[in-house]
Point group: C2
Chain length 217, copies 2
Amino acid sequence: MENKQIPKATAKRLPLYYRYLKYLFTSGKKKVSSADLSEAVKIDSATIRRDFSYFGALGKRGYGYDVEDLMNFFSRQLNQEQLTNVALVGVGHIGRALLNYNFQGQNSIRISAGFDVKEDLVNSILEGVPIYHIDELEEQVKAQQFEVAIIAVPGDYSQDITDRLVEAGIKGIMNFTPMRLSVPDSVRILNIDLSNELQSLIYFVQYSDSILDDDKV
Amino acid sequence: MENKQIPKATAKRLPLYYRYLKYLFTSGKKKVSSADLSEAVKIDSATIRRDFSYFGALGKRGYGYDVEDLMNFFSRQLNQEQLTNVALVGVGHIGRALLNYNFQGQNSIRISAGFDVKEDLVNSILEGVPIYHIDELEEQVKAQQFEVAIIAVPGDYSQDITDRLVEAGIKGIMNFTPMRLSVPDSVRILNIDLSNELQSLIYFVQYSDSILDDDKV
């Protein structure tokens, strides 16, 4: 695994496989075929087999996969045994919805600190999570050893916040603003741009005949 | 355009190009080079040139692109002149944040109806948007000729709601639940699975050396 290069698209599907395997395990299932897995996660079985091939032989052809073994394998891959604490910068409407949601059902991820400037929020505890003043950003990121942060501030502040986070040691940013952020190559950005996504969907619906279905997920 | 097949990845980048061109136009810029465009939208210029090539000659090599022409071209592609009304099913925390956000700055998209079962929401107007009882779903989707809907209900209800939406004529669904939905081939699904996305980001941060950077956006 350490030596093998995994395509980004494969890496993105791992949580999906893991979640379904956990569901099967909880339901008492012992074996799963790649056809059943394919039907449940809506990814064609050739892609699933190719994804799994990056991790070596995970099952025997014709016998299906052992649910518990496979679940445990992906659990280790995804570091499920260890809680990853995440910082949330910006506690507006989106930020609050994220706090409330707090990645339930993903036992391994938790927003454990929020940052904002609003007087009525700062130094309070919201949905069980302490909200700090943005002035304390660097100090708390270092003290709590955050590596991943979510940015849900107004777009105009996003690059400044990003620079401060990177300087403080953040390695991955989930960006809910519509801005594209500049970061060093060592930092990962995941853009969740809801306007763009919805606009693309509308475009797909309107021009469905002229879009190549080259990407399944 | 009608005869040409556009890759899905290209279609997904169009809103990004359009938004930046609109910004340049508003700032009074007349010309933009593909290098400047590349720097602003964080997409390499080879990809930009390839994307643009699907739409024929949009600029002359070495002269850069005419900002207004290009903006107008993408505006037509993205059907910006016409408002697309979108239905929101489920007005919980995520739903409310979406209502508040309501794709501001995208003049062409608006959530114009919400659906829920909660007594205190039904028949009220929230952020300027009427909230109907879920029992009125089919009737309102047909009456208001919705083609695109956002699902932000608890996961257990998602497939049932999807079936009802599809039956009523919906062609595109933005899915905020963690469930994978079954729909006919003619219906487009866009999954916004925040847990999965964040888990992938954490995976990327932890194994950054072993992920192939095969996908830029």
